[in-house]
């Protein structure tokens, strides 16, 4: 018996976080039996909208409509009852690694439907799990322990778990980002199979335009918390038209690019490959006084490249040269010895020691220079801290304040100041403006300009294209761990960056 088509939608749904409108008056609709893509740049509101639909974001205003009727989906359980299932990108947060495939697939059943029962029926559990995997048409031994599965297989287990319950709408949040080409093919096959045989709607959140054009029936583009357009995909749909919709009119954030004298080639990376393949054959160079951008979307491999250069990830091949001398970097210590600095993306987790004072943090990368015969000279460390608190205008009541109590922007300045104290030649910034306000952003840009002006090499990785366009001299666009293009900042625009960042291999045709 053919299931009837069911629709799911929103009417005037809005969400406000302090200071930001994450969604404003979103009207959205899908119906079962179709694959629908939701696209948009970072921060466009895709994930927020999906969280509303899956009940993970109860603080919305407006209505969620199920078959045209307003329903309440304020909890994940309520969403699941309506058959709305979501598979998040981080598969490991949802799986229980030390249980078997069968137990993971049937997990909801074990948790929800065991009232009054005490003993597990493992035979039935395995048969049921096998049944579900057969519906997906995938072949995984249900007795295997989940931690031994590949990422793609784990994803399948989660999809199986989702369809094991009533499932009318399956939301896949960036499912293909971590997958290889063949694994992606397998996922597409499963998704197509689900649509055709189970009458399920699949909502596909992705950055990868060419994948959308291949397998989706229609797409929605979001920007700045609003829906820009929803249209069916026809053979005439081009990636350029989608990119244009994603960007819309460009918001010009004006950060003055200060002119630096660009010197000779100083820092050169050739054919760098990370041993797990997170960075693939990357070559780039930086001249003295130059700010080189690393562009690309989240998951494009920018952070991985930064960490591989810095020795935090192991490289399997490639060379790194500074001023003509080849560097041997096996771990971060070697990078620091060679005067390379990394301001990492996860500020609180990796950049600063939150439980320590401002003084401690500002001396952390160069403690040797505040020591006499290994003994720390506290006065010298304090003086150093005082100097950078003033020159970077770090807002702190005292240099003895624990960094945990500073604001995000000031923490970032501490993370940068630490390296300024160490006097490096190459500075790598990974998303330095993440989570800082506009004022602090300006100051950080100014700071980076100053570093370049002093004749240092700067690498600046971010997924904010407007930042790249305003602060860099040149940029490399990354996708899937590879460099797709090298662009001259003065001669490019957001559309061209986006074109390469979404995985296009053909040359960009400006209109």
């Amino acid at each position: 018996m053919e299931k009837d088509k069911i629709t799911l939608g929103t009417r005037k749904v809005s969400i406000e976080f302090p200071g930001v409108k994450a969604l404003s008056d979103v009207d959205f609709q899908i119906s079962t039996g179709a694959i629908h893509a939701v696209m948009g740049a970072n921060g466009a509101g895709k994930s927020t909208l999906m969280k509303v639909l899956s009940g993970a974001n109860p603080g919305y205003t407006g209505d969620v409509l199920y078959n045209g009727q307003a329903v309440e989906v304020r909890t994940p359980v309520a969403a699941k009852k309506l058959g709305i299932q979501i598979v998040y990108q981080e598969v490991d947060t949802a799986l229980i690694p030390n249980l078997t495939v069968a137990e993971n697939v049937m997990f909801n059943d074990t948790v929800m439907n065991m009232k009054g029962k005490l003993f597990m029926n493992y035979g039935k559990l395995r048969r049921d799990a096998q049944e579900v995997l057969k519906r997906l048409n995938v072949d995984i031994d249900v007795r295997r322990i989940c931690s031994s599965l590949s990422l793609a297989q784990k994803q399948m287990v989660l999809i199986a778990r989702a369809i094991q319950n009533t499932c009318n709408f399956l939301i896949l949040d960036e499912p293909t980002a971590p997958l290889s080409d063949t694994e992606t093919e397998e996922l597409f096959r499963v998704v197509n199979h689900l649509r055709d045989t189970q009458n399920i709607a699949i909502i596909f959140i992705t950055h990868r335009i060419h994948e959308v054009l291949r397998i989706c029936d229609s797409y929605t583009v979001m920007r700045g918390g609003m829906i820009v357009d929803t249209t069916p995909i026809t053979p005439d749909t081009t990636s350029k038209e989608i990119v244009d919709k994603m960007l819309g009119r460009s918001f010009e954030e004006n950060f003055p690019k200060e002119i630096c004298d660009i010197g000779e080639k100083s820092f050169v990376v050739e054919h760098l490959t990370e041993h797990e393949g997170r960075v693939k054959d990357v070559s780039l160079y930086v001249r003295r006084g130059e700010i080189v951008g690393l562009a690309g979307l989240v998951g494009g491999g920018k952070t991985e490249l930064c960490k591989t250069i810095f020795g935090a990830y192991r490289k399997s091949s490639g060379t790194i040269t500074l001023n003509g001398k080849e560097l041997k970097i096996g771990k971060p210590v070697d990078a620091v010895k060679n005067r390379i600095a990394l301001v990492p993306e996860e500020r609180r987790k990796e950049g600063v020691l939150v439980a320590e004072t401002v003084t401690f943090n500002l001396a952390a990368a160069s403690l040797g220079s505040f020591c006499r015969a290994s003994f720390v000279n506290d006065r010298a460390a304090d003086k150093n801290a005082q100097k950078f608190v003033e020159s970077l205008s770090i807002k702190t009541p005292s240099i003895r304040q624990k960094v945990a109590y500073l604001s995000g922007g000031n923490q970032q300045k501490v993370a940068v100041g630490k390296w300024l104290a160490a006097d490096c030649d190459v500075y790598i910034f990974d998303e330095p403006t993440k989570g800082v306000d506009v004022g602090a952003k300006q100051e950080i840009f100014h700071l980076i300009n100053e570093i370049a002006k002093a004749g240092n090499c700067v690498i600046y990785a971010t997924c904010e294209n407007s930042e790249l366009l305003s602060i860099t001299d040149r940029m490399y666009v990354m996708f899937d761990g590879k460099v797709m293009a090298e662009l001259e900042t003065a001669k490019t625009n957001e559309n061209e960056i986006m074109h390469y960042a979404t995985g296009a291999t053909d040359a960009y045709a400006a209109c």
């Binding site: 987790k349 020691l353 439980a355 320590e356 952390a364 990368a365 290994s374 720390v376 630490k418």
Partner: protein, 336 residues
Amino acid sequence: MQSSTSMKKAGKLLVDWAAVIVLLLSVIVFTALRGGAFFSVTNLINILRSMSTVTIFALAATVSMAPDGFDMAAGTLGSFCAYVFASFYLWFAMPLWLAIVLTIVFAMVMYLLNMFLILVCKVPDMLATCALQFVHQGLGLAYTGGSAVSAGMSTAGWATALKGGDSTPLRSGWTPASQNIGKSPYIIIIMVLCVALCFVLLERTKYGRYLYAMGGNKTAAKLSGIDVKKMRFMAGMFAALFIAIGGIVVCSRNSAAQINGSDSYLMSSLAAVFIGRSVGGREKYNALGTAIGALLISVLENGMTMCGVVYYILPAVKGAVLCLALIAAYITSKED
């Protein structure tokens, strides 16, 4: 609003100095109960002497724990060190200084095994050292031939063979110099020197900062260019040094390397370290805090014994103090 913040501040102050307050209170209570017998120079020396061994083992734990490491096998390694020290001194009649130096070297060599498991094989500290406890116990007794090492007792089989079939030890008994190690004032001086060494290492040198940075956030420390493995190794070597000294002191105090003689110091030393962690709101494993923790335990044991509390209840008291210290440290932490 204001009163609540000041209340909070007062509460925090109370928690931060809880160990010291309990220490002072117990001194007052015991003095009130026992007067001069408790509050006297002689008894102070008693207390200091009895806390010495615990303190030295606790310092070993402190340097391991500062960079977020752990050592469950410190006690058993201490016992092994005592066997080695006593055999070198008695069986082979080595000069005292040489026996001490060789014992320290021995502890460091044995500690390479810890470091191999932890740094090369990446076994979590707790599990690796749990396993090593048994290795130490077994190998240690294999070394002594299954018995304690004390004056006048015949040497183990392998040592007898080494000496050409003569099973009488080369030195007939302990000398005053070797016994002084375990007596006051020397034992107290040794303890103070160890505390000072640990204090300087952790508070005054860059290595100490590196270790604390690792304890706070290993990833951030690594990305700041700290060689985390090298630092963990260095901390391990200092732990080995303190363990060797601890083993020697216990041996000298007992005038024999008793079977598993130091094993029981492990838990007391960990208690001292945990009590010391929050002293003064440091929230870090530190040398002075550890010494205060050990002092508190010793004062309680000493005072209660004097007040006629039977000795077999004392562990319960020690445990209760440790519980209080842990409650003080964790009750304010936020839930995940």
